[in-house]
């Protein structure tokens, strides 16, 4: 068994107390929700925070409120199982329910939270390794080293954004509420990310993600497709999230195609969306948009299956995601 490094565990009873503790402890502390990402990483010594602030005791973090018409508020501590089974989400934000339900295994989904999923550490198969292995290979710049082992000449880290819900929330146009002792702000999920494998989030270290805010679902449809090796357990090696609204005659009025697990952040395929806007969905327009969107997928050899393979099937998955609306009779 790999062992956790020693740490002190603080258990705030409400958000204000948590924010206070976090500002007091500063850089020494990390937040932990379900711990399904953080604890394994700590066992492998990717993180060795002396202090952990547990968010599980904050009652408001488990709230879900709102409606499909006016939008919804989802507490950061809501588990993935709850999301996957929530009737409103299943009916009106199906991509989010699908994504949450496709994370890992039932056991992990019972514990893992939406907040933790959004703020999942980026992944790379040179990095998600034990200390023994990383030591013997000489470390990389994401932790303890100076070079990138995937792209040795690269000045930056290309670790992959691998959260299933991230591309979906971007495609839905969701935002998050960030709270600190300094106050609070609401940020579009898309702006939470930056293109940097080492520092993938714009969230300040003293900020706590308190909730996810979904916009109204009226007029929108959504879908999420995930590529992975097995029916369970695996992180995505490609995620395709699409939200779409169409007018009466079937022309696309708005569409957001977002790719997960192809870069250090969820990649928005804007050009592909532009190709579709004002068009009806047909096999031809879908093919054109898929080819365009797939160009945004630039996988490296740092995840399961080869980079060429992942590149090759990106077009297929995007096409299938878009075709889903054809099959589901996208004109409502």
């Amino acid at each position: 068994m790999l062992r956790l490094p020693p740490f002190q565990y603080l258990a705030p009873k409400n958000l204000a107390e948590a924010a206070h503790m976090l500002s007091q402890e500063g850089e020494r502390a990390m937040l932990v929700a379900g711990g399904t990402d953080l604890y394994p990483n700590m066992k492998r010594r990717q993180f060795t925070p002396p202090v952990l602030i547990g968010l599980r005791g904050i009652p408001t973090f488990k709230n879900i409120s709102g409606s499909a018409e006016e939008g919804m508020h989802i507490g950061a501590g809501v588990t993935l199982t709850t999301l996957a089974e929530h009737p409103l989400l299943l009916a009106h934000y199906p991509a989010l329910a699908t994504a949450a339900g496709s994370v890992s295994t039932p056991q992990l989904r019972n514990v893992g939270t939406i907040g933790g999923n959004l703020l999942l550490d980026t992944r790379c198969n040179y990095y998600n390794q034990t200390e023994f292995w990383r030591h013997s290979i000489g470390y990389c710049m994401k932790k303890d080293g100076d070079i990138c082992l995937v792209a040795p000449g690269s000045p930056r880290c290309w670790a992959i954004s691998s959260a299933d819900t991230a591309p979906v929330l971007v495609s839905l146009g969701a935002s998050v509420r960030l709270v600190s002792v300094r106050g609070e702000r609401i940020v579009p999920v898309q702006d939470l990310f930056r293109d940097d494998g080492i520092h993938p989030y714009t969230k300040a270290t003293d900020e706590i993600l308190s909730e996810v805010i979904l916009p109204s679902a009226t007029g929108w449809q959504s879908v999420y497709l995930k590529l992975r090796r097995r029916g369970s357990f695996d992180f995505p090696i490609l995620g395709v999230a699409v939200s779409l609204s169409a007018s009466e005659d079937g022309t696309v009025s708005e569409v957001r195609i977002v790719l997960g697990a192809v870069a250090s952040y969820p990649v928005v395929a804007k050009d592909a969306a532009t190709l579709l806007i004002g068009q009806r969905l047909t096999p031809e327009t879908i093919e054109a948009a898929s080819t365009s969107a797939a160009r945004r997928a630039k996988p490296l050899d740092n995840a399961d299956l080869t980079m060429n393979y992942r590149k090759q099937v990106a077009t297929v998955y995007i096409r299938r995601a878009l075709s889903h609306f054809l099959n589901s009779n996208y004109i409502k």
Partner: protein
């Protein structure tokens, strides 16, 4: 229709169906789905495993592993580690005797080269052992590891067996290893200069002449990957000194007796000073047919005179445990146009990793256990196991046969296709039949070659018939239009042994208690497969009592009878055979006393459900009354006996696997949607446990077929040492399964039983490859069949 050329041995089935016939068919306990004897503690999480065995003042051990694939240790400085508070001992190669040995859990003398040392000056793979630490807590032990400084001189390393066999390749082992069995045919390294750990050739008939009669010659090269057992319970053991100053080792092992002997040799202790105890074991699959952590815990316990526990982490299991040999196999066979198989050849090159444990026997089994599935005029099998600077490959469920069957059963499918024959028909025409002799088991006696193994039972025809019917083989099905799905059907057949012919001994001693219960003390090793339950059923049946009268005890080398351990599908057949002998002897002792009391001839009496029967019917005496009579009455004695079983036979279980696959032609993803598994096991002592063995094996083999592979970087370091990256198939990936048990009585086995544990691992991989061929028209000859390989093959169409 049958292949008429096949006649290796001659002669008829030697053993007539004797009294077993009477017993099979009217059993009361055997053949029932009895609850496992250990069910309750296991499902309620009772502390029954070695890792839960607590001792006062117990220390925790950790191992320092080599970060280099090949290096000489110039200097080790342990002073800082020893100075750390809480560290009790640090051992390096300087502190331990340098005893050449094999870690293979095999009978003495092991048929594996003596190329290993507990700790050596040289390390031969990333993960090889460098030093041992014992400390008061696991955390301190781990900190101590980081305080040991080692100066290495790096040596060139080699990872590919083909390269390793070339002249001038880095050489891993010296040829002049001294060991007790030197001079034995397989005791030495076969060719140390070319890194060939073991080598085997088996021939039968005149291969070239048989091939010259062929209308069609089919060839193919296949490869199978480096995979892990992924046992749920890692290797773990606790060692301590008892009140007699003896060394007690509580270990998660498949081979308590072999381990005791090897431990004595390595630590240079008398065997009499060692006692090995096996508690419940959470799976072995061959990875524990090894002495692994026992000498580490024992050496540290002897050094510190405190109890020591050591347990491998999952990471260590994946880097410094044991693995299945990856093999490259070349097949070449000749057939007549009418579908008669004339000659089969297999040439296999296996990667032994850094040490040759099980290399000879596994490599040998790749051909020896497989080619005899078909009748032919001639056979040619050649195999090498080659050292490389990779982790150690050894025994794993199927023991070389899954590798061989992937090649053979893919190859047979290719032959049938070339002939435009239904692969099932081709197999029916050519497969081994009851009464045939094994061409892989030829021995010379007084100048005459004859086979020493006859297939007295063979339910393969029933497996094929029932399996095909349940599956709907040959029936039309929805093939899919390729947009994107295509479906295909595939099948494979397989066989195995039941124990290793001439290399087994097992059984039990049985003792009567005053309440009419019996202690069954067996050396057979229940590693989770349920052998304690099976043996209890056999004992109960043969004694004439119900299961609740049987108290199982396994294994303690001080009190159990000697047993070779749990491997080679031997437990039911060998140890079960011995248990039955013991039970019959004990029953006779009971009836002798009862006969005296009832004035009746013992041979006319029987025991049914603990009641003593005379020819007049049930008597007033029960077994408990006889027990009281012997312990307190006039016939004072302890009723007790032991039974052994050993044989130069190894009856074959047969297996047929049918699968349907669904291939996504755009992504290359393969799903096995339906599987029918038909097993001839002679007799299902416990049908529930037997089906469990089959379904577990099929599930395991699905990973072999589609996804499992230990990957290495160019320095020989494992890239996927954990369950996130090493892809074991999940519940959701399992097909809908139907399991059919066929019982073709094996008259030499207890109640007609053969074996069930390994043979079902052999069929899935070739059946999937064959079904993919059926679906797509492409042939994938290397495992695992990843989506990339499918897309690549489709591209090349």
């Amino acid at each position: 229709m049958d292949n008429e050329y096949y006649e290796p041995g001659g002669g008829n089935i030697a053993d007539a169906a004797h009294q077993h016939d009477r017993q099979v068919g009217r059993t009361r306990v055997v053949g029932q789905k009895k609850r496992r004897v250990d069910a309750r503690p296991l499902v309620t999480g009772a502390p029954v495993y070695a890792a839960e065995f607590e001792q006062p003042n117990m220390l925790h051990a950790r191992i320092l592993h080599s970060p280099h694939a090949h290096a000489t240790i110039l200097h080790i400085d342990t002073s800082k580690a020893l100075a750390l508070a809480g560290v009790r001992a640090v051992l390096t190669h300087e502190d331990l005797p340098r005893v050449a040995h094999s870690t293979a859990g095999q009978p003495y003398p092991e048929s594996s080269p003596y190329d290993a040392y507990l700790l050596d000056r040289r390390v031969r793979y990333v993960g090889d052992w460098v030093a041992f630490v014992a400390a008061e807590t696991p955390a301190i032990a781990e900190e101590a590891l980081s305080l040991i400084t080692v100066e290495y001189e790096l040596l060139p390393a080699v990872f590919d067996p083909m390269e390793a066999m070339r002249d001038g390749a880095p050489q891993l082992h010296e040829p002049d290893i001294t060991h007790p069995n030197s001079g034995q045919h397989f005791g030495d390294i076969y060719d140390a200069a070319h890194n060939i750990a073991a080598h085997e050739v088996i021939t039968y008939g005149d291969f070239d002449s048989a091939m010259s009669e062929a209308d069609i010659v089919v060839e193919g090269e296949y490869s199978v990957p480096f995979i892990s057992h992924t046992v749920l319970e890692p290797h773990v053991c606790v060692a301590y000194l008892d009140g007699y100053d003896r060394l007690i080792v509580v270990s998660s092992t498949q081979v308590p007796y072999h381990t005791r002997r090897q431990l004595a040799a390595v630590l240079q202790l008398p065997i009499s000073r060692i006692r090995v105890v096996k508690p419940r074991v959470g799976g072995g699959f061959g990875s524990k047919q090894e002495m692994l952590l026992e000498p580490v815990a024992a050496a540290l316990a002897l050094k510190t005179r405190q109890p020591v526990r050591i347990e491998y982490s999952r990471q260590e299991e994946f880097t410094a445990g044991r693995f299945r040999h990856p093999v490259i196999l070349r097949m070449r066979s000749g057939v007549r146009r009418d579908g008669t198989l004339l000659a089969i050849s297999m040439h296999s090159i296996g990667n032994a990793g850094a040490y040759g444990t099980h290399s000879f026997t596994v490599t040998r089994s790749t051909g020896h256990k497989t080619l005899c599935l078909y009748r032919a005029k001639a056979y040619l099998f050649r195999a090498d196991a080659v050292y490389t600077n990779l982790p150690i490959t050894g025994a794993m469920r199927g023991y070389g046969a899954p590798q061989g069957f992937f090649a053979l059963e893919s190859h047979i499918d290719e032959i049938a296709r070339r002939l435009n024959m239904d692969p099932l028909e081709f197999r029916r025409k050519n497969h081994v039949q009851k009464g045939d002799w094994d061409p892989m088991e030829m021995v010379e006696e007084e100048g005459v070659w004859r086979s020493k193994r006859q297939f007295r039972s063979c339910g393969l025809p029933q497996c094929l018939e029932k399996g095909a019917a349940a599956f709907g083989w040959g029936q039309p099905f929805e093939r899919g239009d390729g947009k994107p799905i295509r479906r295909g059907h595939g099948m494979a057949t397989a066989m195995q042994g039941s124990g290793v012919a001439s290399f087994e001994l097992g059984g039990a001693s049985i003792k009567l208690n005053e309440d009419g219960s019996f202690n069954v003390m067996t050396g057979a090793t229940d590693i989770g497969q349920g052998s304690d339950t099976i043996l209890a059923q056999i004992a109960a049946e043969a004694l004439g009592v119900d299961m609740d009268k049987i108290i199982m005890h396994s294994v303690d080398t001080d009190s159990s009878v000697f047993d070779y351990g749990s491997y080679a599908s031997s437990t039911t057949y060998i140890s079960g055979g011995g248990v039955k002998v013991a039970a019959e002897l004990v029953q006779k002792q009971v009836l002798d006393v009862a006969g005296d009391l009832l004035d009746c001839a013992p041979e006319d009496m029987s025991i049914v459900d603990s009641v003593i029967y005379t020819p007049r019917g049930p008597s007033h005496l029960r077994v408990a009354d006889i027990a009281n009579e012997t312990l307190y009455g006039k016939h004072r004695q302890q009723i007790m006996a032991k039974g052994d079983f050993w044989t130069d036979d190894s009856p074959a279980p047969f297996f047929a696997q049918f699968v349907e696959v669904e291939v996504d032609t755009e992504t290359g993803r393969v799903r096995v949607t339906k599987a029918v598994n038909a097993l001839d096991l002679g007799k299902a002592i416990n049908p529930a446990l037997a089906s469990g063995q089959v379904e577990g094996a099929v599930a395991m083999a699905l990973g072999y077929a589609l996804s499992e592979e230990v990957k290495f970087d160019d320095q020989g370091r494992v890239r996927n040492a954990g369950f996130v990256d090493y892809k074991v198939m999940s519940t959701l990936d399992m097909p809908e399964m139907t399991t059919i048990l066929v019982e073709d009585t094996e008259y030499t086995g207890p109640f007609g039983a053969k074996s069930a544990g390994e043979v079902p691992t052999n069929g899935m991989a070739p059946a999937v490859a064959n079904a993919i061929q059926d679906a797509l028209g492409v042939r994938i000859r290397s495992l695992p069949i990843t989506p990339e390989k499918i897309l690549q093959a489709l591209d090349e169409l």
